[in-house]
Subunit: 474 residues, 4 copies
Amino acid sequence: MFFKHIYEPGLAHASYLVGCQATGEAIVIDPKRDIQDYLTIAEQEKMKITKIAETHIHADFLSGSLELAKATGAQIFASDEGGAEWQYEFDHVGLKDGNTFMVGNLKFEVLHTPGHTPEHISFLLTDTPASNQPIMIFTGDFVFVGDVGRPDLLEKAAGYIGTKEAGAKQMFQSLKKFKALSDHIQVWPAHGAGSACGKALGAVPSSTVGYEKLVNWALGYDNEEEFVVALLEGQPEPPKYFAMMKKLNKSNRNVLYPVPETQPLSIEEFLVAKEKGYKIIDTRNKISFAGGHINGSINIQDNSAFSTWAGWLLSYEEPFILIAPSHRINQLRTALLRIGLDNISGYLPDIEILTNAGMELETLNQITADELHSNLDKFNILDVRNESERISARIKDSQFIFAGYIVENAFKIDNSKPVVVHCAGGDRSSIAASILQCMGYKNIINLTGGINAWISHGFDVEKGIELVEEVSTE
Amino acid sequence: MFFKHIYEPGLAHASYLVGCQATGEAIVIDPKRDIQDYLTIAEQEKMKITKIAETHIHADFLSGSLELAKATGAQIFASDEGGAEWQYEFDHVGLKDGNTFMVGNLKFEVLHTPGHTPEHISFLLTDTPASNQPIMIFTGDFVFVGDVGRPDLLEKAAGYIGTKEAGAKQMFQSLKKFKALSDHIQVWPAHGAGSACGKALGAVPSSTVGYEKLVNWALGYDNEEEFVVALLEGQPEPPKYFAMMKKLNKSNRNVLYPVPETQPLSIEEFLVAKEKGYKIIDTRNKISFAGGHINGSINIQDNSAFSTWAGWLLSYEEPFILIAPSHRINQLRTALLRIGLDNISGYLPDIEILTNAGMELETLNQITADELHSNLDKFNILDVRNESERISARIKDSQFIFAGYIVENAFKIDNSKPVVVHCAGGDRSSIAASILQCMGYKNIINLTGGINAWISHGFDVEKGIELVEEVSTE
Amino acid sequence: MFFKHIYEPGLAHASYLVGCQATGEAIVIDPKRDIQDYLTIAEQEKMKITKIAETHIHADFLSGSLELAKATGAQIFASDEGGAEWQYEFDHVGLKDGNTFMVGNLKFEVLHTPGHTPEHISFLLTDTPASNQPIMIFTGDFVFVGDVGRPDLLEKAAGYIGTKEAGAKQMFQSLKKFKALSDHIQVWPAHGAGSACGKALGAVPSSTVGYEKLVNWALGYDNEEEFVVALLEGQPEPPKYFAMMKKLNKSNRNVLYPVPETQPLSIEEFLVAKEKGYKIIDTRNKISFAGGHINGSINIQDNSAFSTWAGWLLSYEEPFILIAPSHRINQLRTALLRIGLDNISGYLPDIEILTNAGMELETLNQITADELHSNLDKFNILDVRNESERISARIKDSQFIFAGYIVENAFKIDNSKPVVVHCAGGDRSSIAASILQCMGYKNIINLTGGINAWISHGFDVEKGIELVEEVSTE
Amino acid sequence: MFFKHIYEPGLAHASYLVGCQATGEAIVIDPKRDIQDYLTIAEQEKMKITKIAETHIHADFLSGSLELAKATGAQIFASDEGGAEWQYEFDHVGLKDGNTFMVGNLKFEVLHTPGHTPEHISFLLTDTPASNQPIMIFTGDFVFVGDVGRPDLLEKAAGYIGTKEAGAKQMFQSLKKFKALSDHIQVWPAHGAGSACGKALGAVPSSTVGYEKLVNWALGYDNEEEFVVALLEGQPEPPKYFAMMKKLNKSNRNVLYPVPETQPLSIEEFLVAKEKGYKIIDTRNKISFAGGHINGSINIQDNSAFSTWAGWLLSYEEPFILIAPSHRINQLRTALLRIGLDNISGYLPDIEILTNAGMELETLNQITADELHSNLDKFNILDVRNESERISARIKDSQFIFAGYIVENAFKIDNSKPVVVHCAGGDRSSIAASILQCMGYKNIINLTGGINAWISHGFDVEKGIELVEEVSTE
């Protein structure tokens, strides 16, 4: 049996290529949309991908099943559980609890494990004929290393009101099935640390049933009600694009394969696109962005959080443009592809060609923690972190709007004085500040180093829950 | 806890970087000699490698511990078990059974697990304070997925006569310790499928204690004597370079870091080196080599078996030259580095510069299975595969000398007729035939497609054990 | 004034980007079809290509004027001289003798300089206002360094019978105009050494009017008739694709920009294409090809003559496939693009994937000069060089068919004995031998090192003109 | 004859590889220090570089003659003219006026052409036996396209007081020799537009004797005295490193070949180096630098002027560090190598690793032309352009110190108000401003877009010569 764990750190997403060496057949479980890795591995191992499996309708990435099926001719195996609303609309082999299917000599047994979503299934793999005992289970977003899948996404991200408690109860039942498995079975989930599909995922890629029984907080509950409360508590804010993923991942959407090359724009093309209102995403680092940027551009830096923030801030209907050097454009394009943001109209490799052509740039003023502390009365402070960070420590009298909701809530900002925007270290505040500048706000200032710098200078913070005004998430 | 499995397919070698995210400290277990991967991962994860651990004195690759220690300043942790002959001669923290050490919050417990080698230790890891139960064990060449480490290398490869039975008995005792561990514990060994350190390694990178108890053939024995017989039976021929690895891996050898660049040779330099008797390794594929090659060159193709065959055929004292295109030289250099073959004097990027300068090439004649079958009486046949392959199927009346021992045994070859050399598919026969040409043999012919092609044409083969004359391995 | 000479060695083709630094406008003269170089230079120099000029309807490469016009929006300036048959069929600004046009401050004066072709014009450039004296002349295929354009291509390559003498006479008149120019004027032609558009081109990229008057053989004649005889004598064989270039370069053909990526083929796709009769071009070196190749493939090596030989041997109507490593495919694709061979259906990166899948290869047997000399009576010898090479030295009793005409004349080959094919050094004989193998001939053998090796061994050759039977060029 | 013009735009430096195709020998004239281009061309053309020639002791780049001699074994041919002070101290074949030497069949005739320097020679090339008339002359820094070499560098850059008039007179005499050459001879100089070795060099790479007689301003004088005045007038400020080049280029200095790889620094290594006072050169663009930079770093942007400004600002004795991304480090290293700045101690690939580690950055405040114009009374203005630019247009009441002399003259700056630094477009002002920040000046502001932006807004400027206080150039 050949086994390969493929990990995409930007979305903390794990997928798997498992093959039968006797027959040369292979399956990919929960593929990402940039499918080249699977094709390359299969070629190296001289295997043919004949099946593709989905554990569930993913919320946080656009599955590459359709692209992989087009590229290889493989069949898609996916859940028919979960009821009418959760049925895949594209061609697939429907799976129900207890079904089995073979990939060469490898036996996959289907377990219906709802909770994260109603249709969620897991795959228990037995390496026949070498063994008649399962070797591993692919748990998707059911059981992670150290955590379980959150049941509240349908409600929070996709608007299915009232489903989160139902999901939590299903999860409780599904975990009973999990506990009944043998201790020695390896557990390979669809996500690792940092995923927004849970709240406490570990950084180790795999675990075992026995170890999770000992260590995973969610397996320690005997009481369903207590479990439901605990599970729903403290889940992070789901990015806005999750709603679109839920919709696209079950639909018979357009297949993008092969991926067309992204073209550089001439100054003229760039200016036309800007004029037409195309969104401009400046991917340079926050320091460079502060030094000078095009009026009307948003600063989503080229780092591991790029696709998530693009998912928060870009619309799926509107075209957009990147500012990024040529040697990075393919990686950025791929990061967007992974969440289905395909409307890229081109990129500008170098901002200096604009200044050389006489365009004046806008700067984003910065202030150090020291300067802010010495002049507190001259500024209003806007905290754009998330709620749990805010609870753990905040600057007194600062206003709170999470960066992901800044557009809808900007009107609440008190800009009677210059506004110092901060987050933990300066990344999200650069995003939020750039959005505010786009919206026409003047006197927006970024706190360099964020609240981390403030705290490291020993300046005072408040802690604990506060009464926050409702923030619009529409 | 951060965990990364690093796999080098050429030698089927697995190493591990494990880090404590709370403190930023990391350890590398059984590092390969090209250490850049570890440095890159540590940098990406913003971790500092502070410790390096060795499970045992490796036979099949040159450990990169000394290079990694030089590059990072980390301390080496290695076994002080096993007796006087198996003591590391370089600076290290000596470990004994029952010792523990910490990497940040991660607890590593030392288990003395002799059998493969006398000093062999394993590391049982507990992810404190998250858990007080071990999460995984690093077994080195003790327990593999589906196999255990062979105890006969010291005798076969390093000449310690009479040690293989003793080792097999130690292995039996060590396995008792292993069986006493909890089922849920993950097992991460130092080798995967294809390694010459065992005979039946699986292709899945990890297992669990519970699963190995169910499936691993070696854990099924209750009787020591039967186990010893079974373990020593059918072990593959150890490559010649293993003896040198045993020596170098415990010694305080020269540290090669950073690695100097390999330079292309001018025609003049090449000819001088050839004149002086430098070994010439032609890494082109066997088809190109057959079409024309420099007289006196050996054909070790640039594929995953490159370093192993270089280890069989190159001397550690003599300088050598590669024929390889510029865009491949770094990978080939690295493959050699991994087994300590550092005496590379340069490379020739293109054989055509020699023919353009008027040099005449030598060809290696080829024959198809069909042609051979129709003219069997005109040729002698030489089989250069290994013993187990020969037992499973062989061409009647063919002579048998394993490719790795061809130099010492060439005098036995019956070259009263032209000699058709074959292996399974044509790779090893190209090696052996090129060596015979180097030694001055004429009328050497390669069977294209090897015995595989013969069999696929439906031609007769013999099976089973045969009486073979002793082959010299000196 | 900005000036850049762009040289493409495969076709010995020179083109020019000349710009006015005062206005930022630039012109490209006689662009190649892979236009990226021009776009890159213009971008680096912050210039805008606003005009494109053609000196004449080229015979040896497909002009990139249409692609460059599409990419930049520039206008094409081309000759309206030469009569009805030589009128460009695409949108252009028509130029007549004596016309001038400006590129920024740079003045271009049109000289009608027929001879090579009836419509041929040259451009005399004055760098106003810095000077009122011309600085240089772009002569296209009129005057080269050390030679002049051949007037016989229309007749030989495009079938316009009886035009070569007329052309030679026009050339004599045009050269009078050239001689009237000032000595100091730089001469920048469209071709360098190795071009088939002349017979004696120098390797220096540029010259001056004065120097050519002193040194160029063609400027030494005062008598028209003697000049005509001398000019038509000893012109090399024009490659077959020249006829197609003449046709395409004046037509409003399809524009290929941007160029789509060439895809690797799977084994299955490759076999389907082979089955359908797609031409297979094996670009590996002749040594590798001799060692083993796919039955039915032609060996056009990946070297500077690649596009010319592809032009000799490929049809413009039929699809074809390359065998070439991935890291070379773009360069090869571009070489084909330059002569309009766009019907590439994909490529096979590695021939070993076929042998690994069980396909048997064909070899091309080789013989050394020594072996041939010792066994002359056992072989027929086929010389595939061109006529002038044959006149200078040939092996006695060898048969002569130029490699470019081998397909039409293969029936004349005496294959009563095994046929040893030779050229000068082995490249063209590998092409010819591979074609003969494709056509079903058996017992085709390649002379390694060609007649060069034969001569260097001191073996006898014949010299001088011989009576050759007519070779079909249809 | 093979001829190749090699142009390095950063220093506007032209060198030449000329080869005899009959014998395969080649010469390189005035090689740059990164010699790989020559080795590559020679290899491609299958030529052997056997000779190296120097036209004179260069002031603006470090000659690669010694490196090329080491790499190829070629002999160096250089001037023995000019007197005792101008004798090369390394092994060479000494040349005097009238000497000739051969490269294969190519004849090189030596002309002593002092003026730019006392020992300066030119090479008149005849392509024998094809012609007995010279085809081209290599003029070094004697005659450029449209200009002649400046005679004042020895005085200005190397401190030989009183030599500039003598040099100008020698130039007048040497030009007589030039005028005596035939019009048709090609002229290939050592520099193109932008070089500091003259004041009016054209952008066309070559010219002819006849054309220069018509167009070159310096060839229009019949009166020596007028010529001397005209020649010495308006020469640009020679960069400081010229003095060191004069010294190194004649000495038997250390040879750096092959060039060792430049290593990235860890944070710790960087901080140690900073602590020790290593110069830190931040090569990011001025926008990013303004947004945030390390205290104590100088902003020399990675563009074509990089090496010249490094030559102005770096010491040849002190170690330094670059801030530059990994994919640019080799090019930057090479740019420094070209002027002998070899003391690079490593580089920092990414400034964010410092901010992530908690380091606070310094910003460089910026002001637009508009804002400055509206608040003129609040700022002092510092112009750091050169004298000729200042004469053509300047902001009223601005202070003037050329960026290259800012260190020595900073004490004169009136910083009673915040100082707005400007140049033409913002590059040199970023350099100067960063130096002032390094020196501890506060309230330094950069004018974005420089005086170009000011002028394009239509704001007033003064023109003409002004009385400037003496600026120290020590």
